[in-house]
Structures are given as C-alpha cells and as structure tokens.
Symmetry: D2
Subunit: 363 residues, 4 copies
C-alpha cells in the first residue's frame, strides 16, 4: 500500500524515475480477448509526449512503449500486461546543483523528510514523467470501454485567465492546447509566448467527459464513482482541485435549480455530472480539474537547503511553462481506468441484475 | 471492494440503512493503549446530530453509540472496535409513496439500476444517516492524532451566496452553523429562515484544516495525501467538489505567485495547502469542499417512475434545507481518518528514517 | 490491513471478544436479490454452538444472530449486511487469575508482546468464539452458492488416532462429531470419555468438499484458489496444516500416478483436489485441515509470567477437549466465503468469456 | 485483484509468460536506505536457475536481472523497485503441438475455461518460470530482514520416498538438491537417475525456517502469520500442502504433549512452529510444503482436446523431473516477503508499544 497501485479489479502499478533507466507498468485484470496493439498505446503516449510544440518542455523522449506480456496473437489473455518505456534523454548532469537544496513548491523537501534519501535527478519519482505509464495503461482501459460504446475525452477549458468555451471535439485534436475552440488558439499562443518571455508559468483547467456509461457504476459508500474519480484525478501531478458536474457552483445554487429533472425523454440537465449517490446515472460523466502553475521557473525564488539555511534558487533545466497543456491525455487515462475498474467491480457483484425500467439518457 | 470500507491500515467499515434497526461500524487498526471512552465519540456525534437547531431536519435521533469491542479497561487493545447506533425515530410509514418513483437528484434511480432492489425508506443506504458512523470512527482517529499534537478542525466558509470569513476557532463551536465569524450568524439565520419559507434548499462550502501534521505523510504516486483526501471528502453525501490549498484559484495564478517560499523561519505562504508532491510538508493541511443543495424539497419537481412514466414529485418527510450545516464534523472525521491511516502507513515503511534537516512550520 | 477483513469482492469483517458485550460482522459485496432469513444463518450457528453434547465446552451461548442491515423485505439489497450476536454467558470472574501469566500454546504471550495490553478474559480476541461470525457470514455465501448448484460440506475425517472413513453425507449431520461413518461413533465417544477422564485434549482432521463448482474460479498467480483456501482454512483457530487433494501424499507419488487423466466422460481421478494451476477444474474441490489439541487443559504445565518468572499453570474454565469437533461448520464457512469471493472476482474480469469446450465432471 | 500482487505494505507484483519477451516485477513499499545491488538479487536467482545440474530442466536461461528504478547510488529510495528479466531461450516451436489439447494435471484446461484464450507456449503465465521474479523480490526482503538479524533459509526434507534428516545449514548449499544431509546425496542422485530412465517425475517436501524473528508479527484474525504463510507457500507452483510446526502430526497429539512449555530459559519445544494465535512468538518459524510431481513427463497419458475428444498425450519439451529440487529458493522468498510485509504492518500499528517482559527464545 505504498501507493504505486491504482484500482481494485483493473489495477495499474507503476515504477520508474525521471532519470532512471526506464518506466514500467503492470496492468492487471484486463478482460481477455481484447484486441490490443502497440498502436493503441502509442497514440495516447504521443498525445502526452513532450516536445511536440514550442509550448512544452524541449526534453526529447520518444516514449516508445514495449508490451512485455499479457498479449498473445494480438489479443489480451487476461494475464497481467507488462509495459516498458526506456528513458532516452536524461541529461543527469543538469541536476547535481539541486542535490542539497529544496526547490520551492516541488516535492524535494517532502521526499527528503519522508524517505531520508531521494533521487534528486529531475524530481526522481515525483516527476510527471511517471504519468507516461498512466497514459499507456489508460489506453488499454479506453480500448475496452470503447467496445461497450463508452468514450472518454478531455479538453482544456481554461488557460491561466483565459476561459475556453466548448465548441467541438474535432477541434480538440487539432491544436497543441487541446482547445475545443479553434478560434481561441491564437490568443492562447500569444499568452504562452509572453509567459515564456516572462520566464514564468501558469495554471490551467481541464475538463474530462465520459459518454455512453451505463447506469450502475460506482460503489457506495466510500468508493462512490465521484470519490474515486476525485482520487484518480487529484493524484495527477499539479492538480489542486476536482469538481464533478456543477462542482463549486453548487454552493450558491438552490435545490430547485440544481436538481436535474428526470423525464421520459431523458435527464433535463446535468448539474450532477452524471453521478447520483455515487453511482453513474447514464448521463455524461463530467469532471473538471485545476492544475497549478509549474514551479520550475527561472524567476529566482527563496528556499532553504538541507541544513535549513536560506538560499536563492533558480530552477534550470527543461520544463513545461504550463503543465496543463499536456494533462488532457493523463486526465482521460485516469477517468478511463476508474470507469473500467468500476465496470468490473459492478459486474462482479451485480452481473445477474435485470431491471425493466428504461435507461434515461441526456435530453 | 463493495466500497463500505475506507483506509488501508486504519480502516473503517460501515453498514446500516436510514430506517433499518441500526447503524454499525468496525474500526480496525487503531494503535493499542489509546485512552478511549464513550464521551470521546459522543461529543462529535452530538455535533452532527439532527434536530439541534431549527435550521436542520427535525428527525429526532439520540445517536447514542455503544462500543462493542476493542476497548478494555478504558484503553484500546489494538483489536477491532465495534460501534453500534440504534435507529430510534424511523417513521417508515412516511416513505411508502416513493417506492416506485425516483426522487430527482437522489440515488433512487441509480440504486434501482445497480441493484434491481432497494430499501426505499428514507433513502436506505444512500441516506446521509450513514455518516454518523464516520463521525464516530473519526472521533477515534482524532483522539489518537491529538496525542501527537495534531488537531483537525473545520468550519463553514460559505452558505449559499454568503461567504464567511475566518475569524476564530472559538466562534465555530458557538453557533449552529459552525460559522467562524460570530458577526455573520444573524445574516445566516435570516437567510435560512427565508429559505424555509421558500421551501427550498441551498449549497454550502466547508473548510477543514489539520494543524501539527509532521512532514512525510502521503504515498506517491496514486495515494498522494491530497488524492486520498479528495477521495475521502468527495465520498461525503452531497459533495461536488474538493480543493486543496489554493484549489481552483491556482488556474489563474503564475508560478512566481503560487509557489510557497521556504525560509528558515518557515513557509512564507500556503498555496499548497500543506501538501507537496502528495506528501505533507508540515504546514497546515487545508481542504475546501462544495456541498450541493439537498434535493429533498417540497417544491414540486419533474421525475419518472419505475416504468419510465412522467410523474410530478414533492419530497415530503423531514429534511435538512442545507446539508452543509451538519457537514463540518463529517469532513473533520474523514480528514482525521485519512491522516491517521497515512501516519500508520508512513510509520510502517519509514519508521527508521532520521533526517537532520529542521522541520519548517508556517511563518 | 489489521487482518479482521477477509475477501476482495465478497468481504467479511468481524469484531468482538470472547467476554465483551457482543460479536459483530459486516458482510459486504453480497449480490442483491438473494432470499435471506435469520433461519439461514441460525442453522449453521447452531451446528457450531457449544454445549450441544457432553463432548464440547459447557459454556452456554444462545448465539442468536440479529441482521442489522442489507436485507429488505426478505432479500439482500447489495448493501452491507450487519450481523450482531450478543455474548450472554461470559463469567468474567473465572479469568482474573491468568491476567499476568501466559497460558502455554495460547496467544497470551504473543498478544502481550504485540499490543502491550490485552483483554485476557477468555482469550479476548484470540478466542475461537470469534468464529461464530465466520459461520454466520459463511451461511450467506453458502446460500448464494446453492442458487448456482454449488454445495459446500465438511466432515471429521480423523479424531486423534482414529481415522474415519467417508461413508455418507447423511451420516454427518446425525452425530455430535460430524462423523461420516455412523459405525465409528461409539469408538469416538469412548475415546472422548477417556480423554475427559485424563483431563487432556486431542487434535483432529477435518475434510471440506465443494461440489458443483464451475471451472474457472481462482486467480493466478498469488491468489490461486488453493492458496486462498489455504489462507482461509489456516486462519481458523488451532489449524496447523492444510492440504488440497492428495496433499502431502503427493510427495511420494510419481507423475504418472498423480496426474488425473481427462476423458470425455470426466476426470478419471482427483489427486488435484479440483484445482489445476490455481483454478477450479469442475471437479469436486477437496481440502483437509489439521487441528491441534486445545491447550486449555487441567494437566499442569510450565509457563512464565509477565516478569519472565517460571510459574506452574492449570488452565481452568470451560473448554473443548477437541476443538476439531466444532470446526466442521467453520471450515465449510471459510471455503464458501473463498468460493463466492472468487466467483465474483472471476465474473468481474471474465463475464463475457464463452468457450465451446465441454465441461468435464468427475468420472 | 487479479491475483498478480502479493502483500499489503511490502507488495510484489509480477507479470510475464514463459515464452514472452520478459518477466517483470514491481516491488513496492521497501524501506528506504537499504543497501542493494544486483549481486544481492542474482545470488538467489542463480540458486533457482535451471540447468545447473543434470537433475533439472536443460532449458538455458541466464536469468539476469536488471533494476529499473527505486535504487539510487546503491541504496533503496523508498519508491517502487522495477525488476526485469529477459527470456532468452524460449524455443516456441516446441509447443505448437499442444495448442488445442490439454496436458493432464496442467493448467491448460482451466485457463482455457477461465479466459477463453491462452498463451499455450510453455504454459504461458502458468509456468513456474514466473517464480524467478518472486525469488528476485524475495532477495530484497531477505536483505532487509538480515539487517534486523532475521535469517530465512530452506532445505529439501524429502524427495519422493526418501526422507532427508536435517544435519546442517552448511550442507544445504553444497549439493544440487538443497539436502541438509550430505550423506544422503548419493541416494538422491541414484533415485533421480532411475527416475529419468523411467521418464517419470516425483514429488518432494521442502522445509523453510526463519530465525531471529521478533515476537509480535502477524495480524489476527484472518491475516494470521501462519495463514499468510500458507497463502504464500501454497501459491507456489505444484504445492499441494502446507504445515506449520507439527502440522498434520498435531492431529494425533494430546494437548499435554503438543503445547510448548514456556520457561525463563526459553520455549522448551516448538510444536507451534513459532506462531501462537497467528502471531510470531520469537521461536524459529517453521513451515513444510508438499510439492507434487510435475506432470510434464513423456509417459503417455489420457486427455481431451478443445472439442472434448479423447487424445493420447506425451508432454515433450524440457522439464524438471522433480520441481521440488528448485523450489527451496522460491519457498524462502515467499516466507521472506510475508515476514517483511508483516513487520511493516506491525510497525505501522504498534510502533510505540513497549513491554518490559523478556523475550523468550528457543531453549
């Protein structure tokens, strides 16, 4: 229970540091018979990969994944799927300067106090590089969910101060920001260019949506679907907040406004974000997450060293000025993992349940 | 993994329906030798108890807890602690009208699709009545944490549209709203009185803070302390959003603003909410949660019945017009359970770790 | 993970001491819609109950169980089932003499070192009284398994030096020993009567068999069905050994003798005990367990006290001269719990698997 | 919970098939600061490696392990340790003949029914090749335990009909059988040579002993140390029985004989096998396991194919005539993993417990 495994029936265990030899994952519990190829995994890995535009870190990582087990003649066998991604562009020499100091807002100080020792190169285990394996594992979950008509997709809904309205899913894949509004892209680019000139960073908001989810997924009391989604999404590096449906806007809503009417034609609204009593309702599942600005900036900042002495720090190296830009595939992966895990758990207990009541969709 | 257990080393398992004979909990993994009496549990149960002011449901429940095991001669023995609370004011007759219809924004529809059958009386298992056992279990966690100088406290930070500034912890316990600002109480009372006249309900925001937490609690990668807190807090009935520290405000922050400087005198700010890289930093741990307005209101609403036919619904019975009012002790309980669980997990792996670096507090 | 919960999808959590107010269990993950009444539970509780013959302890416990939750209108709802059994015949005064000494071969010494404190009355948590809740929970598992044609039954196969051949299932329920051979009962009674005169105790062997189990239950690698059965059965008080199928006799077998031929008419033998590669084969699942003689005897024995000083001990109180006599329902319960748990786990991952290969039974 | 992870705080997750590209493991929860090198792992891998004598399979595997993460500058960091072993001598062409038939006493038939598909090459996931990763992970556990003075060692105590008395630990490492009696080796060699001429296989008994274990490890009720050992040891390929201490001999023992007297100089005997009430007593922990004869023999055997038709089978390929010969390091590994896991769990809950009672050893 050292926290490197997620899920109960569909489980993902990862290992690997930013500047170690490799990242590795073991995906257990995948249903057998699923067609699965490297291409299925590589597509999402490439969406997360650094260095694809000038707005992300310039570290060059091919992020090529190898399937070590669990797939035979193009299909999953039900046994665990081993995944391996070699690190190729570590440049460890960049990092020796931070060996004995704690970068502000990084995990240096807390890992130091927790473990006594740490791999300080590039953040070691605390680096977001680890999320590559989540994306690879999530691609497997997505593939299985797709066979049941469930689609998990995300987009950037805010970059710093710029809110991005949802226009279309098609737009999302056609720009470096995962912006659902193509008209906003020039504004986003201008903002990022200025940010780089300021040598600063900024936060972002990501929205993830699952459509086609059947009613019934989620386990009361503690493992509500929304609670597990919150767990999964908050576990992504830099996330500081998670909302389901109306989220924090619910505070000022009245009950007569918040509750989503059920009609024979479907739910009339979706303040619930597709989850009632912790269980999926058949509506789209909608989550928003807030990502903080990365702390790896070249603006000098105050900190202390391992002896508790004050130091002035500049975090060099290659960094993302907005980690939110690459976060969309990670958020999708975590939602897909949660949904598949709950699908299997639901099936285990309730496989035989049959109800004649019609399933309502979104009106 | 049906979701009625929370925690890994300090675990809480609950059972019981709103209108069944009793609620029950088994608290496992409590360190031995802790002084524990009924009074320790009853105090927090009374803080959550309905019917203590005109602003909460008028259901009368004594919520008297019995300790069935795990405590001997006034001290915990390390064996599981069984807890029992009998239901005394069930009034099941009130509920037969909703047997075949689904109350909007309740769990009726989703439980029906998940299980095929459900105990419809008062929401059955989906009722917030279940949270009584969380509060009882949380009181045990709080008691142990207190022996280490850790204090977990919460307050209402917003009621509907009314933001409540933090003034003092003393104020919190002196009004029915857990308001930290006594000057705000008349405004809150007036708002609630109008709400009752409107027969409507409203949301709220609760803030929970843990002080005195040592650095090092929290497990990367998936079981980050913030991720587990998000899980725990989102699992509370009606919660739609969770923030750690600056939360959603992080989106528009710049890195140079968000990062909390480390100084020999302590951290200079706390945008992180006391957690860096998923691990406690020694700063106060701060979480905010958004609660939706309860859907049990007498304003008629559209819904469907088990045959999918349209019906017009009025939810009668005794309900809280703002479930947030009683949520503070529940949120405290969940945070305390998470912290104690992580304290034990940390101790298991890292009991022997010693670092000479000074621990920084909040400046 | 303090060890009071068993199972992954169908989970049983228990609490309660020998001389505390009550025993309690929470059974989570039971499929909904199962008809369940007190009678279903009480039947097996009565089979385990002490005081039903002169060959068991004379402690009088009604062992009347109350269902606190999870059952509505005679059917399980899928929510956790709370179970309560009050202790009624504690006689705590008998036990003060052993407060500061360690009874040989009991858990006194080890609990003392583990927890520092212990409820010494009647063994506290280490008493086999705890197994009452396993039997109650197991009865629920048995009931569900029976709806699928799976039957779990056990018998005594050896008492001290007396081997008992299997004759019929009918015989098992018609004597106080769960002996499958009625002709052996007089010999068993004579042996036990002499044992009481000797004020000594003796071990026993129990055999448990599950018939009607479909192929496919059990999870490689670590959660093989045989491994989980070994775990479950070894967790019963006094068990010192577990065998599957041919068990220890396999050591001297040759491969040409041990391997069970597959024929179109079924498996030709069952050295495997119904499990191949950790997965059920469709053959009867057969396990044997060895129970040690209880250490609560009035023959004086050497021991030490809490100061490490030598003492001479006589264990008074009311005890079973052969704990194996009451162990059959407990072993059945644990096997049933394992099977149901694995059935749900298998269903979760592999619900959609279809093979055209015929299922072989036992020839 | 698909069964490829073992442990609660110190966890081992494995993946990989007999004839896939590689075996992989993720070891999570290892305490930080432990000196660890490839040599520590390779030593035990070499002890398990095939092809080191004429009495084991002639498959040539280097079994060279690579550490992918979790170790930095020669010490564990507390983050997960990724381990990789490439398969080098797969010879997949040997196995196509068994694609559509089920080898008797193998997992072919059960995997087929469980998953619908299977990697039939060399047994795929059900091959004992998987145990290489257990041995690698176990070496880490052994290394940590050794820093606390705990030593886990095993030996062969019976080969087919030949019982092997314990003579010395030194002898164990000086012959191909792990025989603790050097005088028995010629008899074992002659037996094995005849067995190969008979083209048959035979079972074996392995004994594993942990010395230096402190009192207090093991969690009542379900996670007793003996129950978890039974789980761990029964999960090893071919194991059909597990005993703790006196094991099945306890059946015919009297209580006055079985109970181990406590004296100020230590326990006077060890029928308990070092475990009382599921918790370690400070005595040596002793377990015995029965391994069946491998079913991969060239003596023809009856079986069926995927259509349920009778076939006559000869299992070709390279196999161990007695899998027990290579099982000693695997059994040691599993015992070490269980002990370290329980050490961490015990420390988590009971880190602060102090008792003045002296610890008894073996007299």
């Amino acid at each position: 229970m050292s926290g490197n495994t997620f899920g109960k029936l569909f489980t993902v265990t990862t290992a690997g540091e930013s500047h170690g030899p490799a990242l590795v994952a073991i995906v257990d519990g995948c249903p057998p018979g699923l067609e699965l190829s490297l291409r299925d995994l590589q597509r999402d890995l490439d969406r997360r990969k650094p260095g694809t535009s000038r707005h992300t870190t310039q570290r060059q990582e091919a992020d090529e994944v190898e399937i070590l087990s669990g797939v035979f003649e193009g299909r999953t066998t039900g046994t665990p799927i081993g995944l391996l991604v070699r690190n190729t562009d570590q440049k460890s020499k960049d990092y020796s300067a931070i060996k004995d100091v704690f970068r502000p807002a990084h995990a240096d100080y807390t890992y130091h106090h927790k473990y006594g020792v740490r791999d300080y190169r590039g953040g070691g285990r605390s680096s977001a590089r680890e999320t590559a394996m989540r994306v690879a594992a999530g691609a497997i979950a997505k593939k299985y969910l797709a066979t049941l008509g469930i689609q998990v997709r995300g987009y950037m809904s805010q970059l710093g101060p710029i809110a991005i309205p949802f226009k279309s899913w098609e737009a999302v894949e056609q720009n470096a920001f995962f912006s659902p509004d193509p008209a906003k892209v020039p504004e986003l680019e201008a903002y990022m260019d200025q940010l780089r000139r300021d040598q600063d960073s900024v936060g972002a908001k990501i929205t993830v949506v699952a459509e086609g989810v059947m009613p019934g997924l989620g386990e009361p009391i503690f493992d509500r679907l929304d609670a597990e989604l919150a767990h999964a999404l908050m576990s992504i590096n830099a996330v500081k907040g998670v909302e389901i449906g109306a989220g924090f806007a619910s505070i000022a809503q009245r009950g007569s406004e918040h509750r989503d009417p059920l009609t024979p034609e479907g739910f009339a609204s979706n303040n619930a974000g597709g989850i009632l009593g912790g269980i999926s309702s058949g509506q789209p599942i909608v989550a928003h997450l807030a990502l903080k600005p990365t702390s790896s900036i070249t603006v000098p900042g105050a900190s202390v060293d391992v002896n508790g002495q004050a130091v002035d720090m500049v975090t060099k190296g290659r960094h993302d000025p907005c980690v939110g830009i690459r976060a969309t595939p990670i958020a999708e992966a975590m939602m897909a993992i949660v949904l598949l895990d709950h699908l299997l758990r639901h099936r285990g207990q309730n496989a035989g349940v049959q109800v004649s009541t019609p399933v309502l969709g979104q009106r």
